[in-house]
Symmetry: C2
Subunit: 382 residues, 2 copies
């Protein structure tokens, strides 16, 4: 079995993840911020440690400006649904995931003004085009750091600079970059950083986070018990409590602590280096196979380890099925919740077959995948 669906969720996980989850359940067990007893205080310490580790990774000064969420979709909804009002103008790109497009389209139907800047066929966004789209009422620019369909890495530092020079908020969807390539909220001028725990951060499902620039006033979205200001029936408005209603997934957060420890030990530059090597090996291995079309950049330095292809004469869902059942290779086929991105790269509505490698993928596995693509392409050509 060769797992190539790391764009959806990373697998395997570093052993530290389960170790920390098991330790938490067996030895700690409390709910953070809810009680004053030993177990609860210890749970709070675990949660704060993860806030600190994320702050260190993303160059965030105050760890309390990071709220835990269940996934990046929750993070993005908090930002989009609380910060944007009817009459505001928002700029995004044509390479976004539905976790950005669906909330924006919903708000558009209620009076939000939306500009979708067209990317080129390799998925690249031109920061100058973003700059040209800014208007009097532009409130926010929101883009992803790397495409979930073809891996294209955007020059988000330039986009962030454009935003801040115009006094516009900048939100980064780092679903496909956090843990894989450097993300720096200062250098990239990021006001809202949205991440998920279970992809490049190699943590468990049910974990995500959202960072907010401390200069920005935050409004509640989901309201409930926060373990703070319990005497009031109004939601507290300070981070992280304002966006952390109800019992947090502390078992998941404990697991994320283990994963972040692993990432720190290996180092993100080393992870990136390895993924570039694996991805370039894959691209070079398939790019000359007759009938194989690769979408996006062919230079692995310009993308993450996610690569989309199609094979002439074969439907992508069928290719995925043969890869799975004939070769034990797991990919994700179709539209990857990103119809706009597929329209941009020219693969809508049929979709693509997406391969996503991770630090744990081996060169031998990549070679087997190349061989399988070759066999399927030859069969399709007959």
């Amino acid at each position: 079995m060769i797992y190539c669906d790391n764009g959806a969720t990373s697998w395997p996980k570093p052993p530290q993840m389960l170790e920390q989850m098991n330790y938490f359940v067996n030895e700690i067990g409390g709910s953070p911020g809810r009680s004053g007893h030993t177990a609860s205080v210890e749970a709070e310490r675990v949660a704060f440690g993860v806030r600190e580790a994320l702050a260190e990774m993303f160059n965030i000064k105050d760890p309390q400006q990071i709220a835990f969420t269940k996934n990046i979709t929750e993070s993005l909804n908090y930002v989009i649904q609380t910060q944007l009002k009817p009459g505001d103008h928002v700029i995004t790109s044509s390479m976004e995931h539905n976790s950005v497009m669906r909330p924006l389209r919903m708000l558009e139907s209620k009076g939000l003004e939306l500009t979708v800047v067209q990317c080129d066929e390799e998925g690249f966004l031109d920061p100058e085009k973003v700059k040209a789209a800014i208007k009097e009422n532009t409130k926010m620019i929101i883009v992803n750091h790397a495409s979930n369909v073809i891996g294209t890495i955007q020059d988000v530092e330039a986009v962030g600079k454009v935003a801040h020079e115009a006094g516009v908020l900048f939100t980064l969807d780092a679903a496909q970059s956090a843990g894989l390539i450097p993300v720096d909220v200062e250098k990239m001028h990021i006001d809202f950083l949205c991440v998920t725990g279970h992809k490049g951060l190699l943590g468990p499902t049910g974990t995500g986070a959202v960072y907010v620039n401390p200069a920005i006033k935050v409004e509640p979205f989901m309201l409930g018990g926060t373990g703070s200001n319990s005497e009031f029936e109004e939601q507290p408005e300070v981070m992280p409590d304002v966006w952390e209603s109800g019992t947090m997934n502390i078992i998941g957060v404990a697991g994320l602590a283990g994963s972040l420890q692993f990432l720190k030990e290996v180092g993100i530059p080393n992870i990136h280096k390895r993924e570039v090597m694996l991805t370039q090996r894959f691209i070079d291995g398939i790019k000359d196979i007759p009938g194989v079309k690769i979408y996006g950049p062919l230079d692995a330095m310009k993308k993450t380890a996610v690569t989309s292809i199609n094979i002439e004469g074969a439907v992508c869902s069928e290719v995925g099925k043969v890869l799975d059942q004939g070769f034990g290779i797991m990919t994700r086929t179709g539209l990857h919740c990103s119809p706009a991105a597929h329209k941009t790269i020219g693969s809508f509505p049929q979709g693509t077959v997406r391969f996503g490698f991770s630090y744990f993928t081996t060169e031998e596995e990549v070679d087997k995948v190349i061989e399988a693509v070759k066999v399927i392409a030859e069969a399709a050509a007959e």
Copy 2:
């Protein structure tokens, strides 16, 4: 160490929980509903198995009417924030948690009409008073099944009957009852059932669920990728997809599968019986100690295993600290995110010391807790 904070989160967990989580991470690993490959399909099977187990437990006909959430606060916010509009009238009780009161108060500030029916000093809600509060524009009645402060169990079957006879929606907050006493959506006339995974269901944090009566049209709240209708930038409006945006906490859901298996083997009636025995033993052991005030019913059949007390001459946070550091007994002190409930029982703003037992609590532990209360009460009286 004696853990008496099961009202916040249950501990220990049945061994099946971690077994299933470890198995999922090590042997399955895929994201449900996202891809067509073996791991993803297997993950989908795990998720559907939990929907089926919850459906069986709560007498729900169609498991697809259950959406997974991160906690009950999310479940309640989906229901409250999507179903209720300005001008609607809502009836709730004076014993509710802030996960109900905070969203309702926020909507009240935007034009929702809210009636809070006063409960008696033991926390009981009179269904006749609920009936009398119904008006022309009443849209929903929302109450908890059991108090998180004093354990009082409401006659929710009668409240549900009142609701349905008047053509009003009935929402049940089963945070403190699911897994501990029977919950039956048909018998209790429940339109929206909100539960959490990490309390009485003995599952991991980061899991919760919301059931919706199939006759009710559901609106999106958090929007994003659902792995379905990927070609559209609009949220699908069918359950469970409409309320399951982004990657679900499938590792947590796998753990919940193990916990539900344990609950099925033991049987909820047996769990209830044991908790009644432990709670009655505790109440009988402390009720005659001079200076000890017990809030709520003294008959354990009328309540869950959560009991609140105060000790004359001692501040509750101090009592909690002494219990923890002097006796290794973990409780939760203060207002338990439920200011209205404390006002109802007469313990606002000082709060109470809350003891919460579980199926795993032993009689010896209860006796040690009684002894500790006795020692602290005697010291406070001096």
